[in-house]
Each structure stands twice: as C-alpha cells, then as structure tokens.
Symmetry: C2
Subunit: 344 residues, 2 copies
Amino acid sequence: MIRPIGSDELLPRFVYDVDEHHKLMHEAESLPSVLISSQAAGNAVMMGGGYFTPLQGFMNVADAMGAAENMTLTDGSFFPVPILCLLENVDAIQGASRIALRDPNMEGHPVLAVMDVEAIEEVSDEQMKIMTQKVYRTEVMEHPGVAAFNSQGRMAVSGPIQVLHFSYFQDDFPDTFRTAVEIRNEIKERGWKRIVAFQTRNPMHLAHEELCHMAMERLNCDGLVIHMLLGKLKPGDIPAPVRDAAIRKMVELYFPPNSAMVTGYGFDMLYAGPREAVLHAYFRQNMGATHFIIGRDHAGVGDYYGPFDAQAIFDEEVPKGALDIEIFKADHTAWSKKLNKVVM
Amino acid sequence: MIRPIGSDELLPRFVYDVDEHHKLMHEAESLPSVLISSQAAGNAVMMGGGYFTPLQGFMNVADAMGAAENMTLTDGSFFPVPILCLLENVDAIQGASRIALRDPNMEGHPVLAVMDVEAIEEVSDEQMKIMTQKVYRTEVMEHPGVAAFNSQGRMAVSGPIQVLHFSYFQDDFPDTFRTAVEIRNEIKERGWKRIVAFQTRNPMHLAHEELCHMAMERLNCDGLVIHMLLGKLKPGDIPAPVRDAAIRKMVELYFPPNSAMVTGYGFDMLYAGPREAVLHAYFRQNMGATHFIIGRDHAGVGDYYGPFDAQAIFDEEVPKGALDIEIFKADHTAWSKKLNKVVM
C-alpha cells in the first residue's frame, strides 16, 4: 500500500487502548480546560483518525507560518495549511502543562482531546494577515473561510494531543463516518492496489459518476473511495441520510462489484480552494488512496479562485516529492448529444 | 440479498435524521427517565443498529414469555429470546407515556433511547423462573447469564424505542463497531452473494481460521464476515486493539483479496448456549449473511450445555421456516500429523 506521509504507518491520535482511554477521560475532568473553536475541533477529529499523519497535535506559530508560507514546517516536514488551536482567552490554562480541549459542537461540551502544552503564543495581526492571504488568497471577510479563520481568538496553544472521541460525526453519521485507519483496513481487505479517491459534499449527479468512471479507467484503478465531507448542514441542504442513500444506490446500479466504497470524514470545510485541494490530497494519501480527483473549482467558493487553480498548485507550489498520491486533473464535463454520453 | 427477518428492509431504531436526532436529544432531557440494566442497554444498541429487525422495542411480558417458551411472540412472529427492559423501581416513570432510558455503561448516564411506554408490568417469580429455565436450561445462579438476568428488577417496561447513540461501543471500538446497516451496505458494495458469518470474542487461532476456510469452501461462499462481540473486558483478557490487529493480520496473510471483512457488534454476552446460538443466527441473517458457523459449545459456559446442543436446537426447536440463514455445523477440529493440516 501507499505509505502514509512522513511515516511507515498511520499515527492516529485517538486513544485506542480502552483502559488508557477510560483513565484519560477521568484525568481530563480534573484538568484545566478550554472550549475550542469548531475549526480546531475538526482538526482534532482528523488527527484522531490518522488523516493528518505524522502531525501529533496543534502547531506553534512558527510551524503554522511555515505551513502557510511554503507548506513547510520548521523541521522541514510538509503540511499544506496551518493547524492551529486559536483561543480568545487563556486565563484558565495559564501555566498548565496538560489541558483538556472541550468540544464546541456537542451538547455539554465534553472533552474532545487532552493536550500536552508546549507553548501559548499570541499571533500578531500581521501574522494572521499573512496566513489568511497565503491560505485563502484573499483577506475579504465575505469569504466564509476567511471569516471563520479570523473569528477565532489570537492565542495559539500548541502541543501534541490525545483524542478521546470523534465529536458528533460518529453520532450523526454512524454508518458513513470512517477514520483513515478504517479505510486503510478496508482497502487491504478488498485487495485493491490502485485506488482513486473522490471528494464530495453532495449527492453525486451523472457528471460526477462519469468522472469517477473515467478516472478509474484512465488510471487503471481497481478501487474508488467516495469520501464525503460530513458536517453540519445548512437549511435547505439535502439531509445526510438522503444523500448517503442516493450515493449508495448509484454505486449499486452503476459500479461493478468490489470497485467502490462509500465513506465519510468529519471536518469543517475551509473553502480555501487550491490550498484545501492540497490538504485533501494529503489526507487521501494517508487513508490509502494512490490517486485523487480534482475537478473544476475544487473546494472553492464564489469567484475567489480560477477554475483550475486547485490543479495548478500541485505543479507550482507543492514541494517536489512531498506527496506520493497522484492527482487526476479533471476538465470540464459536458453531455454530448452526438455520442449520447458525458464527455470530458 | 437475503431478506431481513420479517421485513423487506432493515428497520434500525437509530434516529438517522440529524434534525430529528437533535430534537429528540433535547426532548429527552425533560422526559421522566430511568437507568436501565446493562443487558437492556445492549438490546437497545442492537435494535439501534437494525440487528433485531423487525423488533421495534422492548417486549411486554406476554411476548417475552412466548419468546422464552417457543420463540414465538403473541402476533405469531419469531424471536428466540425475551428482549426485556427490567427495572427495580418505576416510581419515576409511573403514568408517563414517553420516557428516556439512561445508559448504565457510560459516564454520566446519557440518554440511550426514548421509549413510548405501552405497558409497565410486574414479572412474577414463576415467570422469571420459566424464562430462566427455557432460555438458559438451568436456574443455578452460578451460571453467569442466569445471574445477570435475575439480578435485574421485576418491573417490565415495554414499547417501541428510538435509539440515540450506540453506547460506549463506537467510542471504544471506533474502527471495528458496525451496525447491521453498515454490514449490509458493505456486502452489497463488495458484490458478495453467499456470505458466511463467524462469531468470535477472541483472537482467532489456526483451528478457527481453518474452520472459516472449510465453511467457505464447502458452502461455496464468496464472502466471510468475522463478527466480533465487542464489550467490556475482564482483567487478563487480551486488549481489544491487539485482538483486532491479530485478526486483521490473519485476514491479510491467509485470506484472498475481497473474501473477508473484520467487524464487530456491541452486546452483553448471555452465555445461553443453544438459545444464544439461535439469536446469533437471527441477527446474522439481518446483517446479510446467508450462512452462519456454529461450532462446539457455541456461546456456552462451564458444562451447562452439551457440545452440539447449539446445533441441534435449529432442528429441534426453531420453528420451521423462521430463519432463511443456513447453519454450518462444525465438528471437532484437530491437527493431523499425517496430513500436516487441520482436519474436521
């Protein structure tokens, strides 16, 4: 199988040992604790599931700036976006070496993770500005990702974490949520050798389906992992069970046996376009995919990004050799009346 | 695919609609509530995952007695064991039409399910005695299943439930716990037609592995579902992550691609031998298996059951036509020095 990034094996930060897990749950109740942002919680869940291997926890400011500026941390390792735990107020954890991070997305704010604090630093306005510009390529607050990033506090608490649960994702999407560990396990069981991953937040229509078929055929893949972003829906969104059922039915009807799996992961969308595309590729390699489909305006919003910026960044900005996963660059698709099928 | 029992589709009692789920979580906080037994909680988790389809909730005493006496409920439908919610004290829910059931196995006892109460009845000593004798074939309190069953209260609260989470099983075994819905989904994706299920609580040794190979070969199965009982371990038990890793490695080394999946379910072991074997077959049909392996002293404990009682019950006591799943009756296995392999 394709190697995880920077490691011979996945390094999920979830505490799998049941005794250790229970011990930590108890310890956490007596630790100084803070309520973290939804973005930070999403990062913790991803680290819990092994998706951000080899990252062990939240970055300090120097690493975050390195990630933003050239996708390179201070130790030279590769990571495409800052992974920060930004707080407004650190009074409750001042001087503590070990703290509990509370989940903003769950009733009662249970402890999501325990952190060994290595630093608490203030992020300057200038640093926020640089990170915003580098990651989102804009600073306008109308951009939902820029707004979410900058709505957090300015105090960055950093250090390795131990993750205690997967937030609301397991509760709300019990049949679809998967860790990177689970997806690697299943790919191994299925015996797939060349695996293409497809990112979606919505039910897939015909063009998406055809895109997956084309990618599998042209790349000679024996497996497709449909990997859904799971998260809070906005009013008017298609309900998650309907979306899942629609995608499963599509797989049942239009994909051969043992050629596709339907899965999901829990994360807050960044809407960072090109940079998010690199992050998407990063964690698809970690879950065992050898190829990743990037189409028009991948992970974009509004008209902040050119239609193929999220493809170009892999040639222009990603450090050479940083990723083993290969990008399938999808063009516009259209229905050909002449051929009576989707063409690209 | 093989039909679920008594229904064209699975009827999981988990509330999948996210809005409805959140609404129920809030409603539950203001409902009269009771702490239920660990056995009842296990039943709720199984109903949540669709394993007990078409059962919609906890049985009343007449149905429970029917299940115990001849595996037949008052409406004529089949169920192999009583599924009761037995409480010591019902003062807190007296007169309530809707109540919250609290989880005894989770810190803080969160609400596990909401019930529409149809009846609250006292179970007589005579009825407890009959159920115990019928299900466990003994009444001695040294039998751990008998002890657990009789340690519950005598007030049976019954009615349909809506399940809100999967107790500690998802938290403690995030990469292995599966609902019946998930297993059916995956069987469909994998394209398997003839599927044999294997029950285990422990790492599998060579004889187990060979048993699975023999079953697949003789039954002409294209899929094996290794289905682990997940639950609280006793001191000295092999830790769950070690057990899982051992089984996954066995599959990787000794099973062809796309021929086996490693999964688990959450339930309290009954140690009811033959009756539990029937329950095991019941929920394996619901998860999509066409065949189920039953070996020597299946689900037994001590010397309460004969080595092949758990096979004979399918011919002697299970109502004709109640189950579509077929039983693979495994004999003793042994190592043949002459053949240099496991023989049966």
